[in-house]
Symmetry: C2
Subunit: 721 residues, 2 copies
């Protein structure tokens, strides 16, 4: 979809306020107050049939009476009057409308109807509608504030796109008190027409915006979000705060994969994919935004910490290490340079502790020395206040050292404890773009996020390389899916619908093989005699797997036997399995016992897929086995997954170490695992009818010998695709 | 050890300042300025041979010239003059001395000698010495401040015991600016004489102190710390910030247990044992301290959140859930009560979102309703600022609702965003003991810590119950340890010392059995013929384990064979194992092959012990197997471990779920595992020569059938004990 031109929301040629009021404290008055107080220079047209003048501005009785120029209307009427006003805006050819009024989708059935009608009108007249149920937009550099929120934000470099109006209001207030500037601010409300994705793009176009922060409660079009966010992330940092971590998605609980996945995991994968830095909470988002807006990215993860209090240094180091950073070793040259400039009891080993008696000159020498050190990628200066120097002196030297010339384009973050916003030291740091944190732990996650962005930018090309698979047998796959769907539909109509949705094993084998995933050929024997015959074809040693309707975790009921070496073994095992099953589940009938060749390998993994309602196929890789749900040693990524991404996915869990040959073992065929992951991702993308796949175990052999999906299960959804 | 009376450090009858100076900005002047400015009412005696008067106080030429009353001296002389002054204090019978001067242990060899001499003098004259290298003590309620740090802290209820003087100074500064009061503050410096444990006790005796916060860099006497902290925790909350998480302890890396343990794990276990709430960073410590000082503990973990901004509510909920709290369900009665008092579009489901248009009256009604709800254990009020009410009105209603009558003794925490310290709203909340947090996520860990304390207090009796084992065969144990030590000493003298410290299997079996830990009887066969003979005694099926000097992870070299069913099997397996080993490790000689009966069970765990240099035996339990180091699904606790603690330890990992019968399996003998853990803990306590134990696997059978330590290894340290 072509993004609409949304410039009128930030720099309109003229603004109509529909529902303008003379009464102070009413929204229709507050909006005009803000437009005036923030210094908007274009014409403001209050619309109110019964007022002559509002706040000194002449009032218009109706929308069609508004003169040019006007390209934005702000509607603050009660919900029932909004649709009519919107239609009038359409007729007057106003291209952008912000609907502040609530009373739509968020209030239930009645509101949903109103909102549908609103969308229809917007489409008919081609109006870009922001909201309803939002607080509107701000562009500080255009002196434009169309919200009703108290406070005039300072111009700055941080943009905010928020699905919550109240949260946006809180941030305006916080930023103003903390002396932090904002560039653009959007509250997207119910997103009936304009989505957060549209606004991410619109915000990224602003020349003053250096970092975008997103507050997300839920995304409707996952792919549109990923597209808008990845495109934007390549230009400037995007930070996402997605709340509701505990919420489960629509879960398919029949497989390990389904039990381990969840809506939050999909959001996590989507943000990672799009290069969005995911913050845990609001404080962290703002901590990161301040640094990303003004400081260069580190080229590596080695940090030097300079402090006058050992304790502050150690706290900073703990937080840095927790965030994936490490202490820069410092060269011998730097250490000896420092040694001759600090107290004898000071530590010139990183973290550099110059002791409580040191002042601005010592700081200057030491910070400069570590900035110049080639083993240092970023510097943190942590300062406990002391009686013998004015904090302003320190703020000034840090500000000066942070200039691009002296800092060698390395990030420099300050922890000057005990400053209050608005004091001269805070203002000095702020003016020079040095973010200051009141507690040392907060530099940890901040530098971690900066380093994460650096890595994402470096890998961006590899991450976006297309998947090319030219050996897929799509005809066979189509036939298998078709046959599977027929069986599934039949099963759904039968009584035992709930438990019967797994695709028959024959078709799973055929489908997997058509996509180049190796599955050992097997056969189903209804009785011992046929099993013995079949065994001659397949060859010993064998694996036996009991098949019964709805039986998914076979090992739990003794339904798997390994290492069947001979016809005698087979006869005994077959009978025992069936008897044992009948005893445990007397009311379930058995389809037979499946015979599979015994596959040996170096290690066993699990590979699976579930479909997330917002973001589509979610691929899982991890250490396999029946305990996978306990260990939770698995990782997820969204399809499509290319070879590079598959490698990264494998290394997120201990699967990477297992494949490398854990504790002296030989390495296993990692390339084969990468191949299975890439192929499974393609399979899921090509066939939306596949709801869920689980390969457990995937047995991986020696390097060059491949991997086998010895137990693969697949569930189809006849209503999808 | 009897704790010394340390009252003179907080409320001295008279104070001598040795090294007093007339020069402003010198420490010897700053200390006197602080004593005067903070309003100390007792006599102050500056000691300086060359000054007549300092800051209006008559000066004394020498220590012996000081008149009574005097029970505290503060020494601010350069290090070389300190010892002489200390001796003079002893002669003058001054019982307490704070040594602010640095230049001792912290500067290396020379300083260590000075500090040893300092300790000797302190012991000779029975002086309680604080420091050296510290900033001294403060007691705000006694108007006593013996530090040289800028700022007069407000009287309050939070005490701080800090091993870092600079950090203490930073906290004084922060607290003053944030308007937060302190009770006592101690910087313990090098702790040559008075330790942090002494000061924890001394601080707990203060009637004004309601919570103690500790900043710890390292503890020297682990047991003394645990004793002082547990005793104190039973009276009032203790919060510990232990920095240096990344630091490894002295590691024994021969076992999984050793590889997984570390100094930080021992500190974690020690604090948990002592009921100390461990904070991650300074900000968190202060967040918790403010709530614990004034708010009651929650009786359960069910929280109600009332907000005017959905987003703030969701952020708070995410943080609460991450900290082990959950949302209170709210009764139907509460919901319908709320329903008739809020906007139609508001949510009366927890988190209760009363929408942006609600003001102080709505807040009052809703917060009161959730406080009165029986399903609610704690309440969070999260407020985004709005134009239509003054924040002070809200602060006042929250303060009033927080009174013990209206709050029903449930904790009430506020998140009023955008307040600055010192504004009337902040001051109102502060005066009524309602902690306010500027960001909603911070209530999560805070309530989590309060709930953790509530649980610890409830479990305290069970946690401290003594272990009683009356069936130990200590004579046999002594003999086994003795024999083991002899072998170990011989091995240490031999060339291959490094790899030869494991105790011979015979003695391990004998030692384990003497402590009631079941080990299957085994035998070592040097060749195939003897193996065949031995097998007749033990009985098939068998397990074979290769034994060679220094071979600890047998499976890595194919040194374990399971399920040997017959003499033929035995003959083949024996030969293969030995050949394979010779091929892989041609330079290592084989002692033989150990034959063990094959033990079947429901599940396999790992149980181990390593000795931490500070805290003694650290017991580990987890899911067993060769991948234990990858999965890290293990937990540690300090000995002694009683049955109650062993249960808790088991439930910290998936071992608990495995024993309960994971995914439909039958439950295993959990009691037997508890018993092994308790007995291993006792063994480690009784025999300090045992450096390390690892049982992997511990095979656990059905309920009532016990558990077997089928592979137990034990390392002795001849120099210990």
């Amino acid at each position: 979809m072509q993004s609409p031109d949304l410039n009128m929301f930030f720099s309109p040629t003229g603004v109509a306020v529909i529902g303008a009021s003379r009464v102070s404290g009413k929204l229709g008055n507050d909006v005009i107050v803000n437009l005036l107080d923030n210094g908007y220079e274009g014409p403001i047209y209050p619309v109110n049939p019964s007022a002559g003048e509002i706040l000194g501005l002449p009032c218009y009785a109706s929308i069609d009476a508004i003169p040019d120029p006007v390209d934005l209307a702000i509607i603050v009427l009660p919900a029932p009057y909004v649709l009519r006003a919107l239609e009038d805006c359409g007729k007057r050819r106003i291209r952008g409308v912000t609907i502040i009024s609530g009373g739509f989708r968020e209030v239930g059935t009645e509101g949903i109807g109103l909102e549908e009608e609103l969308k229809r009108i917007a489409a008919e007249y081609d109006i870009a509608v922001l909201g309803p149920n939002c607080i509107g937009t701000i562009d500080t550099h255009q002196s434009f504030n169309s919200t009703f929120v108290t406070g005039i934000p300072l111009p700055g470099e941080i943009a905010l796109v928020s699905q919550s109006g109240a949260l946006a209001a809180a941030i305006i207030n916080w930023a103003q008190r903390a002396g932090i500037g904002l560039s653009r601010l959007v509250s997207s409300g119910n997103q009936a027409v304009i989505s957060e994705s549209d606004m991410i793009r619109a915000t990224a176009e602003d020349e003053y915006t250096k970092v975008i922060s997103l507050y997300i409660e839920g995304v409707e079009d996952g792919q549109a979000f990923i597209d808008a966010a990845s495109e934007t992330s390549q230009k400037l940092p995007v930070i996402g705060l997605k709340v509701g971590r505990g919420e489960g998605g629509a879960k398919a609980v029949a497989s390990h994969t389904g039990a381990l996945a969840g809506a939050d995991i999909a959001y996590d994968a989507a943000m990672r994919r799009a290069g969005v830095l995911r913050a845990d909470n609001l404080e962290q988002m703002l901590d990161w935004a301040r640094a990303l807006a003004t400081q260069p990215l580190p080229k590596g993860n080695r940090v030097a910490v300079v402090t006058n209090a050992g304790g502050l240094g150690v706290i900073a180091v703990d937080a840095l290490e927790a965030a994936g950073m490490r202490l820069a070793p410092l060269t011998e040259e730097t250490r000896s340079h420092l040694r001759s400039r600090v107290f004898p009891a000071a530590s010139v080993k990183n973290p550099v502790d110059i002791l409580a008696g040191s002042g601005p000159a010592s700081y200057t020498l030491c910070v400069d020395a570590v900035l110049a050190d080639e083993t240092v990628d970023a510097v943190v200066v942590a300062i406990a206040p002391q009686r013998w120097f004015d904090p302003l002196s320190l703020a000034e030297i840090i500000a000066e050292l942070g200039s691009s010339f002296l800092s060698r384009k390395k990030p420099l973050l300050a922890v000057m404890m005990g400053l209050t916003p608005g004091d001269p030291s805070s203002e000095t740091l702020q003016a020079h773009g040095i973010p200051n944190y009141p507690f040392p732990a907060r530099v940890g996650s901040t530098l971690g996020a900066m380093w994460q962005r650096r890595q994402w930018l470096d890998q961006c090309e590899a991450l976006t390389a297309a998947v090319e698979l030219d050996d897929l047998d799509t005809d066979t796959a189509a036939a298998a899916v078709q046959a599977g769907l027929e069986v599934t539909r039949e099963q759904m109509e039968s009584a035992d619908a709930d438990s019967a949705l797994w695709m028959p094993v024959n078709q799973v084998e055929s489908l997997m093989q058509s996509y180049g995933i190796s599955v050992p050929a097997s056969g189903l024997a209804p009785d011992v005699d046929q099993a013995l015959l079949l065994a001659e074809t397949i060859g010993y040693p064998l694996v036996l797997k009991l098949e019964a309707a709805g039986l998914s975790h076979k090992t739990d009921v003794g339904g798997v036997r390994l290492g069947i070496e001979s016809p005698d073994d087979l006869r005994i095992a077959f009978t025992e399995m069936v008897d044992q099953f009948h005893e445990k589940m007397p009311h379930t009938s058995i389809d037979g016992v499946r015979l599979q060749p015994m596959v040996d390998g170096m290690t066993e993994l699990i590979v699976g897929m579930v479909r997330d309602p917002q973001f589509g196929p979610l691929i899982m890789v991890g250490a396999g086995g029946t305990q996978v749900e306990l260990q939770k040693d698995v990782a997820f990524d969204l399809a499509p997954i290319n070879h590079y991404q598959a490698e990264a996915l494998i290394d997120q869990t201990s699967a990477g170490q297992l494949l490398a040959g854990f504790r002296g073992g030989d390495p296993a065929d990692r390339d084969a695992v990468v191949d299975v992951v890439v192929r499974l991702s393609q399979l899921a993308l090509d066939w939306p009818q596949i709801a869920e796949v689980e390969i457990n175990p995937l047995i991986v052999r020696r390097v060059g010998e491949g991997a086998s999906a010895v137990d693969a299960r697949l569930r189809l959804d006849p209503d999808a695709g």
